[in-house]
Every structure is written in C-alpha cells, then in structure tokens.
C-alpha cells in the first residue's frame, strides 16, 4: 500500500474549508453558522498536522498548534453560544437576519 500523498490531504482540507465557508455564508441559523466556523477551524488543523507530518517529521510544532486551536475553539464556542443566548433574549430568534440593527 503506497503512502497517501500530501496533496490528497490538502484537497480534503480545502474541501472542508470551503464547505465551512459555504455554510457560514448561507445558513441563517446561528448555531449552524457556529458549526460552520468549527469546520473551518478543523480544516486548518488538518493542514497543520499534514504539513508537520510530511515536511518536518522530526518536529512537533504543528501538532502543538493544533492542540491550541482545539482548546481555543472550545472557548470560542462557549463565547459564541453566550452571544447567541443574549441575542435570543433580545430578538426572540437566533436567525442572523433578524439582528441587523448595527447599520448606517
């Protein structure tokens, strides 16, 4: 079994990134948007791990960064959910289109 080339993994990562981007731009539900953001972060994680493994196999920085990102993503999810709850209290909705008062 031949080893999986780097480009395959990068294709998976890019696909994941664009799926996340698509979700972020098209979904109106904030929870779904939050999930899309998580996808984007995970695509970055895959990139980090892949580059670490394939280009600098004797180092571990990419793995560390991935761990950091996972931790921060968890914190970010907590903050985002807090924001969503607050928005729900004010607008009785978690549809992002309803919260558009911050404009000209």
């Amino acid at each position: 079994m031949s080893p999986i080339p780097l480009s395959h993994i990068l294709v998976v990562s890019a696909a994941l990134f664009f799926i996340g981007m698509y979700g972020l731009l098209t979904r109106r539900n904030m929870i779904t948007m939050l999930m899309a953001v998580e996808l984007i972060l995970n695509s970055v994680n895959i990139n980090f791990v892949a580059f670490n493994k394939y280009l600098y196999p004797d180092k571990l920085e990419g793995v560390f960064f991935t761990l950091f990102i996972i931790a921060i993503a968890a914190a970010e999810a907590a903050v985002a959910i807090a924001i969503i709850i607050n928005l729900y209290r004010n607008f009785h909705s978690i549809d992002v289109e309803d919260a558009d008062e911050m404009k000209f």
Binding site: L24, L25, E97, F104
Partner: protein, 644 residues
C-alpha cells in the same frame, strides 16, 4: 516736585466701584449699590478738588505760569527701544479743570440717580455703568499720550452705549444706542488714522514730545509738512482727522445725529454723558493738541471754526421747534458745543494775541457743565413727576415743583447769557474772540445767542407757566431729597461759576492773561437774549394760538427745522439706498452665492458620496464575513501574482 501720585486714585475709585457693583451688585447689595457708587465718586471728587487747589494755588505755578506735571508714568507695552506705549497721568490747567468738572457732575448725577432710579430692577447695574463711565472719562482727561487717550475714548463710547441702551426692552433705546455707537465709531476711524499719521511722523505717542517735535520748525521732521496728499500737507490731514474723531464724540454737524436719539437713556445719564462730560471730549481733544493746530496752516482751524458755527446755528434752529423736552436740551447741548469749537477755531485768524478763544472755550465748557447738567436734572424731576417727555403734557408746573422751577429759571438765565449768571461771562469771551477773528462768524454766534434765549424760555414758559395749574394729580411731593440736593448745588454753581478768574488760571500758554472786557461789548448779546426772552414770553406765556400762527407764517422753514433739516433722512438715504444697494447687496450676493456656494458644493459632494457607499454597512453579519473572505482572497491573489 510735589507728589501727585494720589491723582491715580481719582479714576481708579470709580473703576473699583464698577468692578464691585458689576460683579456682586445684583446678588449682595441691591439697595446699597447706589450708596457704594456715590461714595467712590465722592472720594474722587474730594481728591479732584484737593488736586485742583494744590495745583492752582499751592505748587503748580512755576515762575509766572502753570506748567505741565507728569504725575505718574509707567511703560505699558514696549515694542522696541524707539517704540513703547506708556500709561501716564498728566496735570496741566485743562486736565485739572476737567477732572473737577467730571467728578463733580458725576457726583451730582450719582446722588440724583439714587432718587431717580429707585425701584429699578437693574439698579446695581446702572450704578456699575455710571462708575465705568466716570472712570473712562477721568482717564481720558488725565491721559498723557495719544494712544492712552484713544483707549479711554473708546471706553467712554462703550459705556455711553451701555447707558443709552439701559432700557434695552425698548426698541427705540436699542436703536439709539446702536446709532450712537456706529456714528461715533465711524468718526473714531478718522481719529485713529489721524493718530497714526501724527505719531508716525513725530515718532512718539507722548503728547508733550509730539507737540514739541511737530511745532519745531528746525526739527528734522520736515517730512510731515512737505509730504502732501491731495494737495494738503499730511500734518493738516492728521489734525483734520483727529478733529473728525472729536466732532463725532462732540456731536458737531454733520455727525450730530446720534445725540438727540441718545436721549432714550435715563435722564441723569443724559445730564452726565450727553451734556456735561463725554460730548465735550472732542473739544478737550482739540485743546490738548492745540499748539499743533496753531502751528499748522490755517485751513484746519477754519474747518473747526465753521463746523462749530454751523452746529451752533443749526442746532439752535432745530431746538426752537422740538416738542420733546429732552430733545430741546440735546439740541441746545449741540449748539453750546458748537460755541466751544467755534471759540477754539478763532485763534489762528486772530493772530498772536488772540489765544483768548482757548480760554473762552474752556471757560464755556466749565460753566456749561453746571447749567446744562442742572437743566437735565430739572428735566429729570419733571419727567419723573409728569411721566412724559412731551411739552404738551406739562404746563403750570411752577406751583407743583417750586424748587425745580427756581433752578430751571437760573439755568435758563445762565445759558441765555444774562448777567451775572455764569453763562454770561463765558459766552462774552467767546463772542469777543469771534469778534476779533471773523465778523461773519460773530454774527452767527450773536444770532444764535438770541435763539438760545428764545428756545430756552420757550421751554421754560411752556413747562412752568402756560396754564394756571398742572392738569394731573398733585398729591405727591416734589421729589425725594436726594434729587433736590444736586439741583441746589448745581444751581449755585450756575450762578457763581462765572466769577472764577478763568483767564488767570486756564490759558493756552499757562501764563495769566489780561481780560479786557469792554462793557459796551456786552450790550449786543444781552439785548439779543432779552429780545429772545420777550418773544418767548409773548408766544408761550399763556395758552394761545400765537405759536401756531407763527409756525404757519414761517411755513417751510418751520417744517424743515421741525424735521431737523432732513439730515437723518439724508443719512438713511445714503446708507439704505446707496451703501446698502450698491455695496451691501453685491457683497451679500458674493457671500451667499460664491463663498457659501463653494462650501455648499464641498458639503454636497461629500454627502452624495457617503450616501452612495453607506449601503456597505448593512448590519448583516454574513455580508461582513463575505467581504472579509473576498478581501483575503483578493490579497492572496495579489501576493501570488507579486511573488511568482
């Protein structure tokens, strides 16, 4: 040299009263403000009298005559070694005489106002303004350099504005205050240019040095007499422009239009500012620079002479037809100031020996201050009692106001030049100097003195006689005691001021002068005055149709004089039709369409652009995410393009 440093207190005490009353008068001592102001001026008056006594009788006299004493001098602004502006206090016969007049009349007016203005809501403010005026006027007369005098000149104008506009809820008073300010301001422009010309060529602002340098034919400052503009030497131009400034303040024709309107102010203010003190500032200014006026060519003094004569005659004619008691007095003031200017103008034409005009002018200024202030204060009592300025609402007041009646009669006799009242002596001197100078002007002055007697007694008979008793209610007393005391004191002044040997104290060169009064010479003016009085008695002693018939017989002349020779109309024609239409409107058009237009264009362009791009900020989070993504993608493409 004796110590005259205390002179500085004379103007500073009223200033202190102004500051204290202006800052705290309303809140802390409402009812006391009159007393505080009066006390300050009382001390000033005491000091002035003491200074006059010391100067004239103890130590002012050096050798034969009086010399100028610099009491105080400090450098205020120093620009370069050659140019500095000093603040100094100068004593010479005219300034000493003026501080006595100003502080004394101011004191009388302060005392009178305590009764007259009682119960006014802005009682404290009124006394604060009076203090400011007194300070500025005293500073003006004590000024030792031409720049200092200009500062006080403007301060006087400012306090006059405040006092004319004291009743600021009356539109007429506001208009009058503005008119007075603008007209005198316009004249002051001439004064300022004159100051610049004179001091530029003399290279000093100090009066004494300026006079020395400008009148010394051997000096190196020949530039001012040789340089000329429009064929007239710059010295004459400078002096003429200074005179224009003086004419504006002194209400000489044709800059007199503000004075009658200024009667909108409270009556004691008219007595102080528009009769006795501020309006003679112009006379004082010319007297201050008198050696230069004499030294320059005769044309400028001729202007002074004729400006005085025309003002005297014109104002007397107008005064004969006015019906508002204060306006009659205002025109009478203008006429008397015309006399003073006329006397100043006589000197050059009279030659070396003819500096009598200077003394005569100062003498008339002195006596006029007493009887004119008295007339205004009497008018104040009458207006206070009758609540009207119109002569038709008065008549038969002699029984109701016996003291005022007596004082008014004394003042009328004094202003008419009946011996032995004070006006007789000073008017005599003026007529004598006019006789030596110019027979035509003498004729005008003589005729005017007859007219003066006529219109004053017209006023007197219409107010105090004409009817048996006054028609209104007569239950109140005459006036509070604070209003009576000044009347009595001023009446005494109007009677006795003429006996002061003025020609020995106040003269052009400081040396005592021999008065050669010729008894015969007095006959013509006294006769003219008596004729005037008898005509007035014939017409106005009893209610009759005679005045109306005379007015009808005079026809056009009467109407023209009644309408003040249409001078106000000429001014409003010039300002409204010519200046507003030809200069004001085009300037307004340029301002509105070109200057404003540019600004509006700028604003419109900015507004349009921002309206165009404000849609970007939609408030939708996903739009922002898209922009962000697009931005990153764009940057990526850019970097790839740049680095490969």
């Amino acid at each position: 040299m004796p110590n005259y440093a205390y002179i500085a207190l004379i103007p500073l005490l009223p200033l202190a009263a102004f500051v204290v009353l202006g800052l705290f008068g309303r809140r802390y001592f409402r009812g006391w403000s009159g007393g505080i102001g009066t006390l300050a001026v009382l001390f000033s008056t005491g000091l002035s009298l003491w200074a006059a006594y010391r100067y004239f009788f103890v130590d002012g006299k050096v050798g034969e005559g009086y010399h100028q004493v610099i009491a105080l001098k400090t450098t205020w602004l120093s620009f370069s070694p050659g140019l500095s502006i000093d603040m100094s206090v100068v004593l010479d016969p005219i300034s000493v005489m003026m501080i006595v007049v100003v502080s004394f009349v101011s004191l009388m007016v302060h005392v009178f106002s305590m009764g007259y203005m009682k119960g006014e809501t802005r009682y404290g403010t009124y006394f604060a303004f009076l203090g400011l005026f007194t300070f500025s006027m005293l500073g003006l007369v004590l000024s030792g350099n031409i720049f200092e005098i200009y500062i006080f000149w403007e301060l006087v104008g400012c306090s006059s504005y405040l006092l004319i506009g004291y009743y600021f809820d009356r539109p007429t008073a506001v208009a009058a205050a503005k008119k007075a300010f603008i007209v005198t301001r316009l004249a002051d422009l001439g004064f300022l240019i004159g100051i610049l010309i004179l001091s530029f060529y003399a290279e000093t602002l100090d009066f004494r040095t300026l006079i020395q340098r400008l009148t010394d034919p051997t000096s190196q400052l020949a530039g001012i007499t040789s340089a000329s503009f429009l064929g007239i030497s710059l010295l004459s131009w400078g002096l003429f422009l200074v005179f224009v400034g003086g004419a504006g303040k002194s209400a000489l024709f044709p800059l007199h239009i503000w004075l009658p309107d200024a009667m909108e102010g409270p009556t004691p203010v008219s007595a102080l500012i528009h009769a006795a003190t501020m309006v003679v500032a112009g006379v004082y200014l010319v007297a201050r620079l008198y050696p230069v006026y004499i030294y320059s060519d005769a044309a400028v003094l001729q202007v002074v002479l004729y400006a005085g004569a025309v003002s005297a005659l014109l104002a007397a004619l107008i005064a004969c037809t006015q019906t508002d008691i204060k306006r009659v007095l205002a025109y009478s003031t203008m006429s008397q100031i015309g006399y003073m200017m006329l006397a100043l103008g006589t000197v050059h034409s009279a030659g070396e020996a003819g500096t009598l005009g200077f003394t005569a002018s100062m003498f008339h200024l002195f006596t006029h201050a007493f009887f004119k202030a008295l007339l205004f204060l009497c008018a104040g009592v009458i207006i206070h009692r009758v609540h009207s300025n119109e002569m038709k609402d008065m008549g038969g007041l002699r029984k109701l106001l016996p003291l005022t009646h007596g004082c008014f009669l004394i003042a009328c006799l004094a202003i008419s030049g009946i011996p032995p009242f004070s006006g007789f002596f000073s008017k005599e001197d003026i007529l004598l100097s006019a006789w030596h100078a110019n027979k035509f002007v003498y004729g005008i002055a003589l005729f005017t003195s007859g007219l003066t007697a006529f219109y004053m007694f017209r006023l007197y008979f219409s107010v105090f006689w004409r009817r048996q008793v006054w028609g209104g209610d007569g239950h109140h007393g005459e006036a509070p005691v604070t209003m009576k005391i000044p009347l009595v004191i001023l009446a005494a002044g109007a009677v006795f001021a003429g006996f002061i040997p003025f020609s020995r104290l106040v003269t052009y060169d400081g040396l005592p002068q021999e008065t050669h009064r010729v008894g015969v010479f007095a006959i013509a003016p006294v006769a003219m005055a008596l004729i005037g009085i008898f005509i007035a008695r014939y017409l106005y002693f009893k209610e009759s149709s005679r005045p109306g018939r005379v007015a009808a017989a005079l026809g056009g002349l009467y109407r023209t004089a009644y309408h003040k020779f249409y001078i106000d109309e000429v001014y409003s024609f010039v300002t409204k039709k010519i200046i507003f239409n030809l200069i004001g409107r085009p300037a307004a058009w340029i301002d509105r369409h070109i200057v404003d237009g540019l600004m509006n264009l700028l604003a419109t362009v900015t507004a349009r652009i921002s309206a165009g791009i404000k849609g970007v900020q939609s408030g939708k989070v996903q739009d922002y995410a898209l922009y962000f993504f697009a931005g990153i993608a764009g940057l990526t493409v850019l970097f790839i393009y740049l680095y490969t």
